[in-house]
Each structure stands twice: as structure tokens, then as C-alpha cells.
């Protein structure tokens, strides 16, 4: 490149060149490998690593497919992890990610993390062996195929459903919220429930409505009350008589 820059057309006679080359004659990469001393070369050749021949020839035995991981430290670690996860997190949702790209996963994880939901990945083997011993054994059929766990300390179901709606290929299979196993539809209906405060308010208002009715009635004129009671007695007697006559008819 330096050589080509040297031979540039000067605009006019007597003008300074457009480019001025500062580096001449030296290479840019100055760290080359030092040639090894001959004695060192001999030493390296003599002390070269020669691996031991394999005791069993490579094609002799079939490979161990589906190794039993039960007692291994890996499995124990994972199980401990899972146990603490299930204890800490109120919401554990199982989602099938058929195939999100890494980009989609990053975006999804970011969106969920803003609401405090973390995305955890455990192999199905580990999950199944953990679940079969414990209380959550009915969750085991959910863990087939490429699954991922969405866990969070607080059950933020609405936000999770919103995020899942935006990503096309994540499928909610089921969830365990507050120690109750739920189906996908169950999760949706759970998200539509009003908050505890609202429900309590509704209940209290319903109960107080009855008592307020009676209170308002008692406050009115006693003649009104007595008229109402007489009417009520009449209606009761009417009902009794109507019940009595059909019974007699049936008897006869």
C-alpha cells in the first residue's frame, strides 16, 4: 500500500504531494517467531508427547447412549438448585420454545427480566428425576421436547402472557403458581382475576349491603314494618297452602 501511495499523480508541477508517506522500509509486523536453536529443536523432538495407545480399540464396544446420571454430582447439584427454585419462586411456568433464534431469546429475556421473571433452562432428564420424587410429580408430562422454565418470585402472570403473545414460537404448556398446578387456560383465567384487595372489597360490600338494608328498614316507621311483616306472613301461609294442596292431590 505504501508503494502504491508513493506513485500518485501530483496535481500540478511544483505543488506539494497530496499524500506524504511517513513509514518506509520497515514492516508493520515486527514480532516474528525467533528461530529455535538447533539444540532446543533436538530436545523438543526427543521429548515429544506420545499418547498411550487406547486399551480398548475404538470400534470394539457400542457407545453408552443415555448414560445414567442419577448419582452423579451434576445431578445432585441440579436437584438442589431446582429444590431451592421451587421453594423461592411462587410462579414456575413451563414454556416450549420450538425454535427461537438467539436474538429473540435475548429480547424475550430482557422483557421478562424487567418484570422480575428469569428464564431458566434445565434438561428434561434432570427435571423428570427431580419431579418424580417430590410433590410436583404431575408436572412431569409437561417436560417433553425443548422446554424452558420461566420462574419468578412474584406471580406476574399478565406480563408473562403479554411477552409470550409477542413471541410467536413460545408456547405456554402449564404452570405451577402458588403451589397449584395450572393448565394454559387456567393461567389465562388466573391472569384475568382481579387482585385480592378488589375481591375482598367486593365481598365486604356484598355482606354490608344486606346489613345496611335491614338497618335502613328498622329505622323507618314501625307501622310500615308491621305492614311488611303481615304481608310476609300472608305470603308464607299462601305458599304453605299451595304446597299443602298439591300434596293432598298427589296423595289422592
Amino acid at each position: 500500500m505504501a508503494a502504491t501511495l508513493c506513485v500518485k499523480l501530483l496535481p500540478k508541477q511544483g505543488w506539494l504531494p497530496l499524500t506524504q508517506i511517513v513509514r518506509h522500509g520497515s514492516k508493520s509486523v515486527t514480532r516474528q517467531r525467533k528461530p529455535m536453536h538447533f539444540l532446543k529443536q533436538k530436545l523438543m523432538a526427543v521429548t515429544r508427547y506420545i499418547p498411550l495407545p487406547p486399551a480398548i480399540p475404538p470400534g470394539a464396544y457400542p457407545r453408552k447412549i443415555g448414560q445414567d446420571l442419577e448419582g452423579t454430582p451434576y445431578m445432585l447439584n441440579m436437584k438442589r438448585d431446582l429444590k431451592s427454585l421451587f421453594q423461592d419462586c411462587k410462579m414456575v411456568a413451563v414454556v416450549q420454545n420450538s425454535s427461537s433464534t438467539a436474538q429473540d431469546m435475548i429480547l424475550l429475556k430482557y422483557k421478562l427480566y424487567k418484570h422480575g421473571i428469569t428464564v431458566r433452562l434445565f434438561t428434561n432428564q434432570v427435571m423428570r428425576s427431580f419431579l418424580k420424587d417430590g410433590v410436583y410429580s404431575n408436572m412431569a408430562p409437561l417436560f417433553v421436547g425443548p422446554t424452558v422454565l420461566f420462574v419468578s418470585k412474584e406471580p406476574k402472570v399478565k406480563e408473562m402472557l403479554l411477552c409470550l403473545k409477542s413471541s410467536r414460537y413460545m408456547l405456554l404448556l402449564g404452570a405451577c403458581i402458588d403451589n397449584t398446578l395450572m393448565t394454559a387456560q387456567g393461567v389465562v383465567s388466573y391472569s384475568k382475576l382481579p387482585s385480592v384487595a378488589v375481591v375482598q372489597g367486593e365481598l365486604v360490600s356484598g355482606l354490608t349491603m344486606m346489613t345496611s338494608h335491614t338497618a335502613s328498614m328498622l329505622q323507618r316507621h314501625p307501622a310500615h314494618l308491621s305492614a311488611l311483616l303481615q304481608q310476609y306472613v300472608k305470603q308464607q301461609s299462601l305458599d304453605n297452602s299451595t304446597e299443602g294442596t298439591p300434596n293432598e292431590e298427589e296423595a289422592t
Binding site: 416450549q96 409437561l142 417433553v144 408456547l171
Partner: protein, 94 residues
Amino acid sequence: MLSTICNAVKDNVFRHVRRFLALLSSAKVRSSNMNCDVVTTVKHDMSEPVVEITYLDGDKLVLKGAKLNCTEMVDAFQAMCTAKEQQAKIAAKK
């Protein structure tokens, strides 16, 4: 238009359908036909998992996940698609 009914609870009958779904939702497969919608419904009512494929000319291919393997499903789907393509080519030539 592809609709899958995926059953989450029944004796491992659903695993082939799920694998089929996972295969078909990969990025390569998706990019091969952007017009194809994959609609999945997760049901928990012990019903058989079913894959229904509706083609543009109204034909339907129903793959019953209870009786079929994942590879068998893929083979059947591909066979149908190639047959349709050939028909379309012949029709286009005419």
C-alpha cells in the same frame, strides 16, 4: 395453514407431535414459506394430539399424533407437498 392440537397430559402420546412442532418451527423451515401460519392450541383434556394442515386449494391433511411417529409425520407431509407441487406445475404448464 398448520394447526396443531398439542395435548400436555397423556402417557407420552404427545411427544411425537411436540417434536414435529419443534422441527417445523425452526428458522430455516419458517423462512421457506412465510405465508404459512402455525397455530398451536394446548389442551389438557386427554384428547388425541392432532396436526391439521390446510392447503391453499382447500385440501386437508390430518396427522393423528397418537398413531404416528415424528418421522412418519414429516414423511407424509413432505410427500403430500411434493405431490401438490407437481400438480401445480402440470396445471401451470397447461
